[in-house]
């Protein structure tokens, strides 16, 4: 027969339960912040502990960059395009991280069993997604820098950055918009089955083409203009090209200020849509019992 809790003891217990479960706004923010930092940590520190990851994160983009540079050289184009290709490859490393380490991550976590831990931990999927985004972006920065330096050393590219602050702003806005889109993609991947890997592949080369990564988006005509409004890669690389390679400024489709604004709007819109989608899929997945079901 168990003992019952009555009187002052019961009131204290109720008060304690209330205190522990009804968090103030400040405590919720602190908790979300700690969750974000906790998820970002392995992305930055863990990734640095595995040299082979760094090697492959660098070797694929650099080989792709070399192919494009040799293709350009076979046509004898202005060396400014080589400089642009190197920058595009560096920016692309963020996009690849968005697709595979952001979009596909929950899908992989589900198949490897880690999603179960996320779901049972007192942490929202939104905070985990934000942590993945921030940690992923910070982890890719070093890779992007190495790719740029390697490109400059291999191909002798030259840059004329008149306004480093504007350059930093363009990169920051581009990366933020891409990772916001990554939160949306993570929802799509989470409901994907075996097609997830193929979906990831479809988000690479076709998006590089639509985003005008290596050739100006202007050459895509109307499709390129539409891409500027929905695909963060397009305004980001277009603005980057105008700011860092002034010889190619005339190829820009919109002024840099407008493209920065587009990227800001994308960051907010994709972030909100991603948050709503993630919560919806989590709710529906729990109700249907499919949230943790393996794809294969």
């Amino acid at each position: 027969m168990g003992s019952s809790v009555v009187g002052a003891e019961a009131a204290a217990l109720i008060s304690r339960i209330h205190e522990e479960t009804s968090w103030s706004l400040g405590r919720r923010i602190r908790h979300a912040f700690v969750s974000v930092v906790a998820r970002a940590y392995p992305r930055v520190i863990g990734a640095a502990r595995e040299p082979s990851w760094l090697f492959f994160d660098l070797v694929f983009p650099i080989l792709g960059m070399c192919s494009i540079v040799f293709l350009l050289r076979s046509r004898g184009v202005d060396e400014a395009w080589i400089a642009s290709t190197i920058l595009a490859t560096a920016l692309l490393s963020f996009w690849i991280s968005v697709v595979w380490m952001m979009g596909a991550q929950f899908h992989w976590e589900r198949d490897s069993g880690n999603l179960l831990l996320y779901i049972t931990a007192p942490v929202g999927l939104g905070a985990i997604a934000l942590g993945m985004a921030i940690g992923g972006a910070l982890g890719v920065v070093i890779r992007a820098v190495i790719i740029t330096v390697a490109g400059v050393l291999l191909f002798g590219a030259k840059y004329q950055v008149a306004d480093p602050f504007l350059l930093a702003l363009v990169i920051l806005a581009g990366v933020a918009a891409m990772y916001s889109l990554g939160v949306c993609l993570s929802s799509v991947f989470l409901i994907s089955g075996r097609e997830a890997d193929h979906l990831g592949s479809l988000l690479n080369e076709p998006m590089q083409l639509l985003g005008g990564v290596y050739a100006p988006v202007r050459s895509m005509g109307t499709v390129g203009v539409v891409a500027l409004g929905i695909l963060p890669l397009a305004p980001a690389i277009d603005a980057l090209r105008q700011v860092a390679v002034p010889q190619l400024a005339a190829t820009g489709i919109l002024p840099v200020g407008v493209e920065l604004l587009i990227l800001l709007v994308m960051t907010i819109v994709f972030g909100v849509i991603g948050r709503v989608l993630l919560a919806h899929i989590e709710r529906v997945g729990r109700a249907g019992g499919k949230l943790l079901a393996r794809a294969d």
Partner: protein, 287 residues
Amino acid sequence: MRPFGPLRGGAADAARSLVASARLAWAIEGNWAQPVYLAAFLIVRPLAFLGLFLAVLSIGGSLNVATIGFVVIGQAVFQIVSAALEGPTHALLDDRERYRTIRYIFATPSSLLPVSIGRSLVKASIAGFSALVVIGAGMLLGVPMRAGGPDLLLFAAVLPLGLLSVVGLGIVLGGLCVQLRNDAWSYPEAVSSTVFLLCGAIFPLEVLPGPVQNIAAALPITWWIEGLRRALLGTTSPGILGTMPTNELLLILAVGTAVIWLISPRLFVAGIDRAREKGQLDQNTAS
């Protein structure tokens, strides 16, 4: 006859294993989505690749159809190269890491060598569909194909030789990667990307630095792509590739393929045996 190991039994056993693994590969590769989505995937990605390269080429001014033809055939054939090079490793790793069935395959009378080849050939065949799509797109762009149709004799000689050489290199990679833990999936892709850079698929070899050109010329894949360009377009490529007489090209391809097949099964068997001795053959590395 070896009682155990990656190569055992007679030719009939090997053929049975190859057919069974090919059917399995088709079930894995061909039914992950509705046929319409599968077709869309096989069409969209290679066309995007082609569009990307043509967009880059167009930076240097308007394109002539000969340049487009060079890139179209190179890009189309490389779809198959990439699938065949990566196929055996991905098949072995899929069975080890994802489906966790490699120990059961090993326990059957099947041999891993024909199983890997069967899986690789199906991947290459599916990539062949993408290659046809790319060539079709090239024809729509006005690429002039060989007058009077493809040179069927040359095509029939070059296609199997090249395919065999790529599958041979693929199984060497498979035997190597099954011994690795970290990033075993990434090595075939790294090799494939390097070969793409070297084999003159989208630009002439002369653009590469001098010593690298020699490496490129030593790759059978380089001559495979050039042979198929000659069979389908009826023209030779610019530069070094175009200076090689067709009969010499065939000889290089045949000798290269023979050397690869002399070595590759042995390396594959040695790789599988070593992985087995070290307990890595069925070790799930969660990679």
